[in-house]
Amino acid sequence: MQDAIGILLLPALGSLIAAVFGRSLGRKATSYVTVGAMALAFVWAVSVFLRMLSLPPAQRSFDPVYWQWIKAGSLSLHFGLLIDPLSAIFLLIVTGIGFLIHLYSIGYMHDDANFQRFFSYLNLFAFAMLVLVTADNFLFLLVGWGAVGLASYLLIGFWHTRPSAVSAARKALVLNVAGDVGIMLAIFILVMTLGRVSYSGVFSHISSLTSLQVELIAFLLYLGAAAKSAQFPLHVWLPDAMEGPTPVSALIHAATMVTAGVYLIARAYPIFHAAPVAAEWVAGIGAFTALFAATIALVQNDIKRVIAYSTVSQLGYMFLAVGISAYAAGIFHLTMHAFFKALLFLGAGSVIHALSGEQDMRKMGGLKKFLPITYWTFLIGTAANAGVPFFSGFFSKDAILGEALATGHFWLWLVGVVAAFFSALYIFRLFFLVFHGTYRGDGHPHESPPVMTVPLVVLAIGALLGGYLAVPGAWNLFDQWLAPVYSRYPGGLLPAAATAPNWGAIALTSVLVLAAVWVAWNLFGRQVREELPEGLRPIHKVLYNKYYIDEIGHAVFVWTVDRLAVLADLFDRVVVDGIVMGIAALVKGWGEALAPFQSGYLRRYGLAVLIGGVFVVAYLTLV
């Protein structure tokens, strides 16, 4: 598996070529190079996957080491890759869905002046994510982690003439860097206590740490994961990140970036197993985020903003899963989510493209007849996101909820079920507002070109059929595939009883979801309700303003840092410069006091010499 580094190098090379030679190559050649790089990387990843499949499960883990990164005293780090079933899934998601998004971008970005730069960034984004998921130690995980943050910064701020895009990009980067620092601190503690940062080295020596140390490491890792994966209250950057071009949103929300946090916890499960408090925390905040974001998504009017909050909510489910050690279920939901979320975003992009940039759902409606392909694929994505029975989201979400109930997390399960109801409600609200009723805008909608609709169809097939990888009560290919990863260290696998289907719970959520669809149809499908009942207005206002989290965060952090910085600047000018200037003034004062003696009259100097001489002689003779 030494050759797996090629999967990483392809997009890196593509990005470099597009950045350096993009202008001379022209648009077409650039898109061939970058999209081709992703296609090749996908083929390569598939070949890795197939080779892995042909081996017995116990031998499906490879750890090729390439070079020594640094050796400085007690610090010694290597660059190596870890290719195992878990990273193989991510290789496939990142390259596969990444490739479809690349392809779609050719159409979507067709008229953009900075076409080549965009594709260079896209390749860079994929490369960074690949580094993140294949690194065999926490340090290079962090390298990928930081590079993902950078690429997202570049892409979110891609339309840099828009002030909102610029501030969204900055917000994303600063919050992500705060998360990076969490991981960096975790690495420090690992180096300090174990002297190791490689996964295998750390995981096999966890027992030598005190429980306090493990909890601290777990919380710091969680800080990084929560920032990247938009967990409450660090989620504020993600909805703003839709300021980037829509394919970027798809890439961030589906294939790369936000899944990194789930990957980190799923990868570092031995740490979280040894840190029960942190794990409970992960699950609790996850469930809360799922519900919290779902309620916000209920009232937003911007099509992309609804989908963005839906991502935050779905990520909450994934964190709920990995927090209760249901790792395979969490990764399963992540994979399904990658399909339907990419589908929803690209579908939304298709709608926005058709309406020449309109994103307000109040000015859409009745698009079913203008955009038939988008309509049908979007319907599949909507059903999957809502967890309508027999679509992919249904299988993966119910796996998580079932395991939450089976492991005794009743309250988390309950929150998850309520969130599931809201999920179905907000996403069908969006669907009916956009595609049903009558068209409320004044443009001329048109279906998108094939280069954009083909990815939609492919993704729709995934969102439709992907769930059948794990049918409750029948088979679970996902658990089987990941078993070698999670059986290596203690704490990876749930007891068999926990993974058995709970038919009652499944029936309950199914009924709730269908009820939500019915409510949505009555409220938004048949005709749009403009007026809200009086009693609901304050709630609507709070939800619409996203519980004022942005404002609170701004007040607390930005204000504090600004004041501190102003204080330091004042200190520099008043105290430090004051002392220096004081010394200077002292010297100057002495100089001025002594200056009159320098009269400039030569003969006066001569007289002074004479008098001095007389005094010296007098002293020598008399004393």
């Binding site: 009269s599 009259y601 007289l607």
Partner: protein, 100 residues
């Protein structure tokens, strides 16, 4: 033989005249001449003492002084000429750019 006190009195007189000249004259050339007078007053006492104690060191010092004085005059005159060229006069009271 003339007693040494005579030489010393003459030397002191010459030195005083030179000192007064330096202090009251405003023309740098005249000040120079006064300084020369002071040099030579000192030289005179050197030679007188050398004869009194039969020690040649005094003569050596005189030669040194004469050499240095010659060099000093050469440079000093050059400066004066330059000042005169730049200012059209050489009044030392007007040369006060170094006033603090």
């Amino acid at each position: 033989m003339v007693p040494i006190s005579y030489y010393l009195i003459l030397s002191a007189l010459l030195f005083s005249i030179g000192t007064v000249g330096v202090l009251i004259r405003r023309n740098p050339l005249q000040m120079f001449m006064s300084v020369e007078l002071m040099w030579n007053a000192v030289n005179l006492s050197f030679v007188a003492f050398a004869r009194q104690y039969l020690n040649m060191a005094g003569h050596v010092f005189v030669f040194l002084v004469i050499t240095v004085a010659a060099a000093e005059v050469a440079i000093g005159l050059a400066i004066i000429v330059l000042v005169f060229r730049n200012r059209e006069h050489a009044d030392v009271d007007e040369l006060n750019v170094m006033k603090g």
